[in-house]
């Protein structure tokens, strides 16, 4: 029966493969008749504008696919490598370095017929080595927003923001709101001081007097209370919308938000710095149509790209989506102050470098910025550390090794295994045993296949990546180089920041703290709620399970908000306490010290995790017979003695697996660490998984190195689970034996 269904499955798969191969072939043969596929990450008005523009192009049918922005580059790369990618796609120019190095884009050729029609900065952004790799569509950068209620006219100098006010701001309001912990937003200041992130040869340039001055300036803005701390985009929007910030530095998204809400606002180019006399110059992003190698070969695709970059399409976009065109001949309307301001700003912005090295700048720069802003470090040392981090991430990947020794070892192992199998197969008894258990194999084979395909293969593939280096698509074998580099802390101080051992210690500490709190709270509540004396305990149970039912990232973000030093609920509580008791407690900057940041993380994770232990406790308690507790009562035990000497030992065998599971979850609790502290301060609260994530996704896609982390995490967990089980068996083999025999 099973065998037959397997055959059927096999036949179906085979048929499917043949058909798809056939379809592929027919498409190739008839390439010119194929519709054009276009990928983009637009939403809302921009998406509508794109559809509108495309509907006016009659030459050939265009299929569009809106891909979420976060997954855009990864999806694009994977699809193009598999030959399933689009013919052309719209993306920001700063990804070109990455795309070019992976041969995902081709020069646009005659799609760009009149380069002079485009603004010079736009052309600079898409040109590489004399070739154009995109047709510019629009440009985006930040500018200065002001609230006309507070501000007479935008000032010339940044230092003169105060003087531009009609009257002093009330307490609780800020002069200026911008994402000051974000290196992208800091770029405007840095450029104003004459600094930059990268030099012309992809070297780290966020150093020296200009960089230090920019950091100190940013810090002083916070120290003077003119700028809110740790503001993210959402907070900037909220503060400006609610009139609690006189000025804001933000992009077209804020303009769209304010216009939609009909909130009056003014906008102008960023002011100058009195210190240098130079204007603040933000980073400029050019959105462009890019062609995949396959698309670039098709003339109708190039024609579409030309059309999208053309005057007519640009006008449509400007009218429908209110974006600033990258063309010279499409100028904003005389009355549209917003677009005019952005165009003016773009003219004096700095085109963001698109080289691969830029990817390695963001994280070190952000860390340095936050260190200085929270006054944990002076500008000089913070920047030097950032330089070291940049160099570490940019370090050339390990040299290729020959896989021969590994293959030999593998071959040897397999030989040994087959030899042993052969030896056993000669044993008649063994053969008989196999023959007898054949029917049993038929029953489990589908489960074995399913687990093999769904669990074992991905696990092995992931582990295999740890032996490779390089970008996806062109990975090469490096043997155990990643593991060596891991256990030697990349050649640095074994107990230095970011070393594997330090992160491991933090992870273990994090797990232990969580476990203790989960158990203490979960057990107490479970015991309390299992007692029949409590009124309305069904209600409490539901209420207490809610933290578990809410998606963990939602909870994590909510808790992160509560721990904000200026606007968080915890600070509100402290103020309230101060008011009631007349104390002078200072609000705590939770994420500026290791101890408090870890506390915040643990508090969040305890909130998320105690319901599990509570529910398991309640379930375990139902297995404790009432008569046994009554016997203890009659024997003279107090309530506490009953709990400690009877209930807890009796539920222990049931609780242990749950606790072990909880420990594993906590050990790998990426969401909380990443979303609440985000590793602050300075990566100190990062645990192994979040560190692995950073190597894979924010430090230049070093998947091999990240996979090495994953493999080590796997072995750590597997090992400790094994030893925990052994220890439990030995310590309580007798208790475990009776777990079922309670009567």
């Amino acid at each position: 029966m099973v065998i037959r269904s397997l055959w059927i499955l096999f036949a179906v798969l085979l048929a499917g493969l043949t058909c798809s191969a056939h379809a592929e072939a027919s498409v190739e043969a008839d390439g010119r008749g194929r519709p054009i596929t276009l990928w983009h990450a637009y939403r809302g008005a921009e998406q509508q504008a794109l559809q509108n523009t495309l509907s006016a192009w009659k030459l050939r049918q265009v299929e569009t696919l809106a891909v979420p922005y976060d997954a855009y580059a990864a999806k694009l790369a994977a699809a193009i490598k598999l030959g399933q990618g689009p013919d052309l796609f719209i993306d920001a120019h700063e990804r070109l370095g990455n795309y070019r190095s992976r041969k995902l884009v081709a020069p646009v050729g005659d799609a760009l017929s009149d380069p002079d029609a485009f603004l010079p900065q736009a052309m600079a952004a898409i040109r590489h080595g004399g070739q154009a790799y995109g047709v510019p569509l629009s440009q985006k950068c930040v500018a200065l927003f002001f609230n006309p209620t507070w501000v007479k006219a935008p000032p010339l100098y940044l230092e003169g923001l105060n003087a531009a006010l009609r009257q002093p701001l009330p307490t609780g309001s800020f002069l200026l709101a911008y994402e000051n912990g974000n290196a992208y937003a800091h770029a405007a200041l840095l450029h104003g001081f004459g600094g930059r992130f990268l030099d012309d040869h992809d070297g780290f340039a966020f150093l020296g007097p200009p960089a230090e001055s920019s950091l100190i300036f940013a810090r002083d803005l916070v120290t003077r209370g003119e700028v809110p701390e740790n503001a993210d985009g959402a907070l900037v929007t909220t503060l400006f919308r609610s009139g609690k910030a006189a000025f804001a530095i933000s992009g077209p998204w804020l303009a769209a938000d304010l216009s939609a809400a009909k909130i009056p606002y003014g906008i102008s180019v960023l002011p100058r710095l009195k210190a240098t006399g130079q204007p603040l110059r933000p980073f400029l992003t050019i959105e462009a149509v890019m062609l995949t190698p396959r698309g670039a070969a098709r003339s109708e695709v190039r024609a579409l790209a030309r059309y999208l970059g053309g005057r007519d399409a640009a006008k449509r976009r400007q009218k429908l989506a209110r974006v600033d065109s990258a063309r010279r001949d499409v100028v904003p309307d005389e009355k549209d102050h917003v677009l005019r301001a952005f165009r003016q700003q773009a003219a004096q912005a700095v085109v963001m470098p698109s080289s691969l090295a830029m990817q390695a700048v963001w994280e070190p720069a952000r860390r340095a910025l936050r260190q200085v802003l929270s006054a944990r470090s002076d500008a000089g040392p913070a920047l030097r550390q950032a330089q070291r981090r940049f160099a570490d991430v940019r370090r050339p990947p390990p040299a290729p090794r020959s896989p021969t020794p590994w293959l030999l070892a593998l071959g040897g192992l397999m030989l040994l295994a087959s030899w042993r199998l052969y030896r056993r197969a000669r044993d008649a008894e063994f053969r008989e045993a196999v023959r007898r258990s054949m029917p049993a194999y038929a029953y489990v084979i589908h489960a074995v296949i399913a687990i093999g395909v769904l669990v074992v293969l991905p696990l092995l593939a992931g582990a295999l990546i740890a032996l490779y280096a390089g970008q996806p698509g062109e990975m090469y074998f490096v043997g155990a180089a990643h593991f060596l580099s891991l256990v030697t802390a990349r050649g640095g101080d074994l107990l230095g920041s970011g070393s594997f051992y330090v992160v491991l210690f933090v992870t273990v500490l994090w797990t232990a703290l969580n476990l203790v709190c989960h158990l203490a709270i979960g057990l107490s509540l479970g015991v309390l709620l299992a007692r029949p004396v409590l009124r309305g305990r069904a209600l409490y149970r539901v209420l207490l399970i809610i933290p578990w039912a809410v998606p963990s990232y939602v909870t994590a973000l909510a808790w992160k908000g509560m721990f904000h030093r200026q606007f968080g609920a915890v600070t509100g509580l402290i103020h309230q306490l101060n008011r009631v008791f007349g104390t002078e407690m200072e609000p705590i900057a939770w994420f500026s010290r290791f101890s408090t940041a870890l506390t915040a993380n643990v508090a969040t994770n305890v909130w998320l995790g105690f319901p599990f232990i509570m529910v398991v406790t309640m379930a375990a308690l139902t297995a404790v017979p009432r008569e046994v507790l009554d016997a203890a009562t009659v024997d003279g035990a107090t309530r506490w003695q009953r709990l400690r000497r009877v209930t807890l030992p009796m539920i222990r065998p049931t609780m242990l697996p749950a606790v072990l599971l909880g420990a594993i979850w906590t050990f790998n609790m990426f969401n909380v660490v990443f979303l609440v502290s985000g590793g602050e301060p300075d990566g100190q609260t990062d645990i192994l998984v979040s560190e692995a994530y950073r190597w894979a996704f924010t430090r230049g896609a070093q998947y091999g190195y990240a996979a090495a982390y994953a493999v080590l995490i796997f072995f750590l967990l597997a090992g400790s689970t094994f030893f925990a089980a052994r220890w439990r068996d030995r310590a309580s083999s007798r208790e475990a034996a009776l777990a079922g025999g309670v009567s």
């Binding site: 009554d630 016997a631 009659v634 024997d635 003279g636 035990a637 030992p649 009796m650 009776l738 009567s743």
Partner: protein
């Protein structure tokens, strides 16, 4: 040691009244047995005595001491539960020692006392085992040992034998009796098994629906049941009941059983009854199976055999007497056919009379 006195005890769980004014007294050193059908409130009464539940009203006294509001640990009692309620995570030895350790008894003394009790109950070789490694009978003995080792003022047993097989039950019953005569500790024993009740009790309390129907020495209760319920509950096979009317005639007082087809008269012994029975008074006759004798079929009292159960030493015959089913106990040798006519003889003094309305006996 102390006598147990219970006065007007009431226990309600929400709207359901489980105990409805129970009063009883177990003298110092006596073995009191609470017996009654399932759900009548025996366990509840015992749990109240132990302090595991709080009474809604009424008082409980141990000797002179009012313990109604005392915590269980201040009552100095030990209890054996129906499920034994051994601590599954502790060895037999630790199970025995648990109550002593809680009470901070000196470790040396604990060891002595555990050893003594282990000896007494034949548990010495089992001391290191876990409860899950014991048979039902062994667990039962550990549960007993756990109570004995405490040397309490009062022992309480809640159906401690109901999970044992018949043979073992008989043996442990004897053991309990022997232990009690050795220790002389006041005990309260709950059971729904009348054999246990009859054999163990110094003083017996028959309960029904939250009330005590009758209290007294077992034999007294058996011979002079105060109510139709008690009469029916005690005795195996149970007493047969027949509706009848009193008739005064020349031969004295008779009970006339009127049935569809015929009419029977049973002579009564008026000297047995405290009150004179009025002519025409409706009554319920109670006949114990062993007090009906089978005589030759020419006797005036005749019944037709419906079914007979041969138990070996005796046979229970279910027969129809004037349309009412009665049970007769006869010798095991006697062989009877279904439908056969029997002549019966019933001694006047052996007939119990009950009021059909109240169920009270006409003693």
């Amino acid at each position: 040691m102390a006598a147990i006195t219970v006065r007007d005890l009431v226990k309600r769980f929400g709207d359901t009244t489980v105990l409805d004014g129970v009063s009883l007294e177990v003298p110092d050193g006596a073995f009191g047995v609470l017996v009654g059908p399932s759900g009548c409130g025996k366990s509840t009464l015992l749990r109240l005595l132990a302090g595991l539940e709080e009474p809604t009203a009424g008082r409980i006294l141990f000797g002179e001491r009012d313990v109604t509001d005392a915590e269980p640990r201040d009552r100095d009692i030990a209890m054996v539960f129906q499920s034994y309620a051994l601590y599954p995570h502790l060895s037999v030895e630790k199970n025995l020692a648990f109550g002593l350790e809680i009470r901070k008894v000196d470790p040396d003394e604990i060891r002595d006392r555990v050893a003594t009790v282990g000896d007494m109950l034949g548990l010495t070789t089992l001391l290191q085992r876990m409860p899950s490694e014991l048979s039902g009978g062994q667990r039962q003995r550990v549960a007993m040992g756990r109570a004995i080792v405490r040397r309490p003022e009062v022992f309480m047993f809640d159906e401690p034998l109901s999970n044992l097989d018949a043979a073992l039950r008989g043996q442990v019953r004897v053991d309990i009796r022997r232990l009690h005569s050795e220790l002389q500790t006041t005990s309260v024993y709950v059971t729904h098994d009348q054999v246990e009740a009859m054999t163990l009790a110094d003083v017996m309390f028959v309960m029904n629906e939250g009330k005590i129907e009758q209290a007294g020495a077992p034999l007294t209760i058996f011979n002079r049941p105060a109510t139709r319920f008690v009469a029916g509950f005690l005795g195996s096979p149970p007493m047969s009941f027949i509706d009848a009317k009193i008739a005064h005639s020349s031969e004295g007082c008779v009970a006339r059983i009127v049935a569809k087809e015929d009419e029977l008269c049973l002579p009564l012994d008026p000297s047995v009854y405290r009150e004179a029975l009025a002519d025409g008074q409706p009554v319920v006759l109670g006949l114990r199976p062993h007090e009906i004798r089978v005589v030759d079929s020419a006797a005036p009292l005749r019944a037709r055999v419906l079914l007979s159960e041969k138990l070996g030493s005796e046979t229970h015959v279910y027969a129809s007497l004037a349309g009412t089913e009665i049970t007769v106990r006869v010798d095991g040798e006697l062989s009877l056919q279904e439908g056969q006519e029997l002549g019966l003889d019933i001694e006047a003094a052996a007939i119990h009379l009950f009021d059909p309305e109240t169920g009270k006996s006409w003693w």
